[in-house]
């Protein structure tokens, strides 16, 4: 196991190296540069030359790359060309928002997807099962931005029972930021009302972002529970007269967890991509929108380091997923 982890971690090095080069080349292929963003309507050639020189954009590309890599190796991910803020600071300040949203979305997906998957699996072949299949397929087919807009229109504007945007009501709950997890910060500030308010702000974005994972988890749970139901040991368990809830919990669910873990790994990338859209619609100050804005503003440093950090997280999550396979399924561990 340790050997496996080490091997996987070593494999990360070429991937990350390749990634830095790929992203660097990509940023420089994009038409325009940060100088034009900074100057806007006032971008005369003379002004642009001044800004380019100031940002070091007038130097040869290989020099710029080597300088970036040099900083990277010393743990310096650079500063935004436009705001001059430290990229890591910016990332750490926004990333908790994205995590909070993604975790809420995944929890929602699991909390609803697994029971529904199990329920439909046990009623395989009935109309309940067919209905479940159709519903899950529709869930997979609704684009996040459309679902998000419709949820917002329905529950925040037509029938305003949930907040439309933001992470907490800034008037009622003035919460100092410590961790940047809004729920945690509200708790630390001793504002139980703030925690609930922060959770309420999570509902619509989490529904929008969690619906596709929900549908996927539901489908996979259904499929794997159907497989497991046919296995001998479940039949034996039933035959032994074990209560259904015990069989559910001890045998079926445990085996069904495996595909769910897979889905979480697969959906991480999707969540991060979907976060761009969700964060746009619900003005949720996370990393997705941050990087998207950096692409449009050509803020090279943020694109380079931000995407790198996201990719690193993506790869690490998948590593953890692979490792947890081993724990969940002894057969894989030994082979």
């Amino acid at each position: 196991m340790t050997k496996f982890i080490i091997r996987r971690l070593l494999l990360l090095i070429p991937i990350l190296l390749g990634l830095t080069l790929l992203i660097f080349v990509f940023t420089r292929l994009l038409p325009g540069d940060p100088a034009t963003t900074i100057l806007g309507e006032r971008a005369t050639p003379e002004n642009m030359a001044i800004v380019r020189e100031a940002l070091g954009l007038d130097r040869p590309l290989h020099e710029q790359y080597l300088q970036y890599m040099g900083g990277l190796l010393q743990g310096d991910l650079g500063r935004s060309f436009i705001t001059n803020r430290d990229v890591v600071d910016d990332f750490l300040q926004r990333f908790p928002a994205t995590i909070e949203l993604s975790v809420a979305a995944i929890l929602f997906a699991i909390a609803v997807g697994i029971p529904l998957g199990m329920y439909t699996a046990k009623r395989r072949g009935t109309w309940v099962d067919s209905a479940g299949t159709v519903v899950s397929l529709i869930g997979i087919s609704i684009p996040i931005f459309f679902l998000g807009l419709m949820l917002k229109w329905l529950f925040a504007i037509q029938f305003p029972i949930l907040p439309d945007s933001g992470r907490i009501d800034l008037v009622d709950y003035y919460v100092p930021r410590v961790t940047n997890f809004m729920t945690v910060d509200a708790l630390l500030a001793g504002e139980p009302g703030g925690v609930i308010d922060a959770l309420r702000h999570l509902v619509l974005p989490a529904l929008a972002l969690g619906t596709i994972p929900l549908a996927v988890i539901m489908r996979i749970t259904r499929a794997s529970v159907v497989d497991v139901l046919n296995e001998d040991y479940v039949r034996t368990a039933h035959a032994k007269g074990l209560r259904e809830s015990v069989v559910d919990g001890r045998h079926i669910l445990r085996n069904a967890l495996l595909p769910v873990v897979t889905v979480i790994g697969l959906q991480t990338g999707l969540l991060l991509g979907g976060a761009i859209l969700t964060e746009t619609i619900f003005t949720w100050g996370g990393v997705g929108r941050w990087i998207y804005d950096a692409v449009t503003a050509r803020d090279y440093q943020i694109i380079q380091s931000g995407v790198l950090m996201l990719a690193l997280i993506f790869v690490l999550v998948n590593l953890v997923v692979d490792i947890s396979y081993g724990f969940l399924n002894p057969r894989i561990r030994h082979s």
Binding site: I15, F26, L29, I140, F146, G269, L310
Partner: protein, 296 residues
């Protein structure tokens, strides 16, 4: 001995033809595939006969007719330019289907070539290709597509290329996986032992048997392509000419009027959902039909 060994690949081919016919039969019995096929056929017909279905020219409007509510004349109302939204949705199917098909064809082709190369040659070629695939897969797909469109400039072909690039690593990985699984199959070993090798082995014996999962994935990729194209349009990266009707751009152009005129955003959104659902149903039906585990 030799005779028998040579016969086996041929037998395998026959079986693979049988497999396709069988799969088709199974699909005809799958409600998912039927509904999905019906939806897609509906959109394809809509795209082909758009000029006969649409009551108005989707590109012409009159500012005097801005924001008319839905009526018998304008089924889905009009937008700010006074263009008929229904006609724009009808014509929009052309672009949506076109981008989807273009991007998936391109993605499958390049992905399959890479995957086949990696799976067949193994060694350092395999390692290099698969590391590149890992790198591509570690960037969120939508972000990659955004970056590619920003790089290539805006346009229908550029959008298709961007979505194709996102799909390439997925297809490459799937085909390589299937090929690896086949390497140890009896008939491949047998074919090799009688001197069938190189491209012939790959193209005639291995590919036809590895292509099933690829086709399923391609159908499902059509669904994601529709979503991705719409998402790009939603983010303002759709076709540059605003008069070209595209569902995602139609949604993003009008969703700010949610409070007053929700129908302007609703109808293009529903069109996207239906098209995606159609491809998903079709892909789902195909997967079941082609899944060896489900075959009896």
């Amino acid at each position: 001995m030799t005779g028998a060994a040579v016969a086996r690949p041929a037998e395998q081919e026959e079986r693979s033809i049988g497999l396709w016919r069988d799969a088709f039969q199974r699909m005809r019995r799958s409600p998912a595939a039927i509904i999905g096929g019906a939806i897609i056929t509906f959109f394809v017909l809509m795209a082909i006969f758009a000029p006969f279905i649409a009551p108005f020219d989707p590109t012409r409007g009159n500012l005097g007719d801005s924001y008319l509510p839905p009526s018998w004349e304008h089924l889905f109302g009009t937008n700010v330019q006074g263009q008929d939204v229904f006609s724009r949705i009808v014509f929009g199917s052309r672009l949506t289907l076109g981008i989807a098909v273009m991007s998936v064809t391109l993605g499958v082709t390049v992905g399959a070539i890479l995957g086949a190369t990696a799976g067949y040659f193994r060694g350092w070629i395999d390692a290099t290709i698969m590391r590149a695939v890992d790198i591509m897969l570690s960037i969120p797909g939508l972000l990659l597509a955004i970056a590619v469109v920003s790089w290539l400039g805006r346009g229908v072909v550029q959008i298709a290329i961007a979505i194709a690039i996102v799909n390439v690593p997925i297809f490459a990985r799937i085909l390589r996986g299937s090929l690896l699984a086949l390497r140890d199959a009896d008939y491949v070993i047998a074919a090799k032992s009688v001197g069938v090798g190189g491209p012939t082995l790959l193209l005639r014996h291995m590919l036809p048997n590895a292509i099933g999962p690829l086709i399923v994935q391609a159908t499902l990729a059509l669904a994601t392509a529709v979503v991705d194209a719409a998402a790009l349009g939603f983010l303002g990266l759709g076709p540059p000419d605003p008069r070209v009707p595209e569902w995602g751009s139609m949604l993003s152009d009008t969703y700010r009027y949610l409070t007053d005129a929700v129908h302007l955003a609703f109808f293009p959104g529903i069109a996207i959902v239906l098209a995606v659902l159609g491809f998903n149903l079709l892909g789902d039906g195909m997967r079941e039909a082609l899944d060896p585990r489900l075959r009896r």
